[in-house]
């Protein structure tokens, strides 16, 4: 034992991070002369043996010594193996067949024609604080475009009267790639989502669609913009067009990243550590849910699929929408693009750091107890998903304050409509 300590100290002196675990790995690795040895969870012996037999030995070797993986796992279990990975060549690229479950962002050129007009209108509405009951907040307050589309650092955002919302504000970037919107998927499209926060009493608090339309009617600049954006209809100022314009703008909120370059064949787009992280990401089963173009946003999953989530009471997730017992604790899988910038994490924003979020996901979703090395490599891979904010596209429109008369008219309308305030309470 003492000699081991001396050896460890000598290696550490030379600037290497090393533990007894590493030495054990190296010994085992040398023993097996196998470069891709992964030894995990030897406490659960069958799993270990299954992995050993599947991954560590070529078929011939397996047939010759069927007991080898079993013996190895026994040895490892006795030696107290916990969870290590030994990959001597982290720069090795992941073979494209292993990446079939991911796709780069679709090409998205600048909007043209009528779409461009609608994008401009949607952008103006997105930044307009007059769409909240006391003219205090806009969409951009909880989904700040300059901050990766979230309310940075806030577990839940505050609405027009500083009341906290019900769930963490999800990012609006790449949201158009998702198959449903909101944490519980209660809106099918971006347009269906857009009206939710406007009328939500704890968010923007507008008493009803009438109040929104009254404000737009009171503003000649808006009237003109709506006529230009929806020229084929007699009365373009309807709620469908308000939400459609916002959704058209949001569809362009895409953030191409180094990950897209990697998927398109540029193998140097990811660093060695990030590639190692991708490998751990794939091996740990993260990609079972976080796959596709957006790395998520395309399925519902049970929070606590492998191990019951500690908090089963405060938010039953999708059950709120469907009232089906099988939807209890189901949430839409969030997108991982820009995840390094969109904390705090999970539906209630309870987890502050990405490391902790990754660790919890392993523990509760995929059933993998990730070592701190594995967590850090996954996190480094997740940083490669941070894309470029389209600075030009999100430029706030030049301020065009509504006329004083229009604002007074707007306030009167709101007061008249306040009695009809809806009772929905959920935030997002």
């Amino acid at each position: 034992m003492t000699s081991l300590k001396i050896v460890l100290a000598a290696i550490r002196k030379r600037g290497f991070r090393v533990s007894a675990q590493h030495i054990l790995d190296a010994l085992l690795g040398a023993l097996l002369s196998h470069s891709r040895m992964v030894l995990k969870k030897c406490a659960s012996f069958p799993l270990c043996a299954s992995r050993a037999s599947r991954n560590w030995f070529p078929r011939k070797q397996r047939q010759a010594f069927p007991a080898l993986p079993v013996l190895l796992c026994l040895f490892a279990a006795l030696a107290g193996c916990r969870g290590v990975s030994l990959n001597p060549d982290p720069s090795a690229d992941i073979a494209p067949p292993q990446l079939f479950m991911f796709s780069p962002l679709p090409a998205h050129g600048p909007a043209v024609g009528i779409t461009a007009v609608r994008v401009d209108l949607g952008r103006r509405l997105y930044y307009d604080t007059h769409l909240s009951v006391n003219n205090s907040i806009s969409c951009n307050d909880c989904h700040q475009l300059a901050k990766y589309g979230v309310d940075p650092g806030k577990a839940v955002s505050e609405g027009h009267n500083k009341m906290p919302g019900g769930r963490n504000s999800p990012t609006v970037y790449n949201a158009g790639l998702q198959f449903a919107q909101f944490w519980d998927g209660r809106a099918a499209t971006l347009a269906a989502q857009a009206s939710g926060p406007m009328m939500n009493p704890v968010e923007m608090g507008m008493p009803g669609p009438g109040a929104v339309l009254a404000y737009i009617h009171s503003n000649p600049a808006y009237l003109k913009a709506f006529r230009q954006a929806y020229p084929d209809v007699k009365d373009p100022v309807v709620m469908e067009n308000v939400t459609d314009a916002i959704a058209t703008f949001e569809e362009g909120l895409l953030t191409p990243s180094r990950w897209d370059e990697y998927l398109e064949g540029n193998t140097s787009a990811l660093s060695d550590h990030e590639k190692e992280g991708l490998r751990v990401f794939l091996r740990s089963g993260c990609a079972a849910c976080h796959a596709g173009t957006a790395m998520g946003g395309n399925s519902y999953a049970q929070l606590g699929a492998y191990r019951n989530w500690p908090d089963q009471k405060s938010d039953p997730g999708r059950y709120d929408v469907t009232r089906l017992p099988r939807d209890r604790m189901y949430f839409k899988v969030p997108v991982l693009r820009n995840v390094a910038e969109t904390g705090p994490y999970f539906h209630n924003g309870q987890v502050k750091t990405l490391d902790e979020a990754v660790r919890l996901m392993g523990q509760y979703q995929t059933g993998e107890k990730l070592s701190s090395d594995e967590v850090s490599s996954i996190v480094s891979f997740l940083h490669a998903l941070t894309g470029n904010i389209p600075e030009q596209y999100i430029q706030p429109p030049s301020a065009e304050p509504p006329s004083k008369a229009a604002t007074i008219h707007h306030r009167q309308q709101l007061q008249a409509n306040r009695q009809t305030q809806s009772t929905s309470t959920e935030g997002e």
Binding site: A188, G292, A305, R307, G367
Partner: protein, 157 residues
């Protein structure tokens, strides 16, 4: 010495008996008719039969749990495997997936079977005759490859 062996033996047996009161929860239930993989994709009956025979014990809520699945400690191991299996792929609650994700899961299943990772190595001898044949795997893969790549659309219910 004999006495000690007896005491230890009785304690171990008592412990195992007590642990049997800890009933495993496999969360089995009849799936809702229009939520299943079979209802949403309507694959060829042959493909459906293959999946049902080879995969459904762990990857659906309609699995058949063997007797040792009700006896601790194997029940604990089995329960972990089933939960992990269903977290990755659940044919009974297929409506939780977008078309994009459904395709990804099916193509991943194809790969796992081709590479011999699924069914698990220790599942095969315990359930003889259930593993898919190479021909069945090819038929399934061909069918999954031919699924259209649709853009994400909501599956509202």
């Amino acid at each position: 010495m004999r006495r000690i062996i007896w005491i230890v033996g009785i304690l171990v047996v008592a412990f195992l008996v007590v642990m049997q009161f800890r009933q495993p929860d496999y969360n089995l239930s009849a799936p809702s008719a229009n939520a299943t993989f079979a209802a949403l994709h309507q694959p060829d009956p042959d493909i459906q039969n293959t999946l049902q025979r080879s995969c459904y014990n762990c990857h659906s809520t309609q699995g058949k749990i063997p007797w040792y699945g009700m006896v601790w400690p194997t029940s604990q191991l089995l329960q972990n495997d089933v939960r992990q299996g269903r977290a990755m792929l659940d044919f009974s609650n297929w409506d939780n997936l977008s078309p994009e994700m459904a395709r990804i899961r099916l193509l991943s299943s194809c790969r796992s079977m081709r590479e011999g990772k699924m069914p698990l190595w220790y599942y095969r001898p315990l359930h003889p005759g259930t593993a898919p044949t190479p021909g069945e795997i090819d038929a399934f893969c061909a069918w999954a490859q031919a699924l259209p790549t649709e853009p994400n659309t909501a599956q509202l219910r």
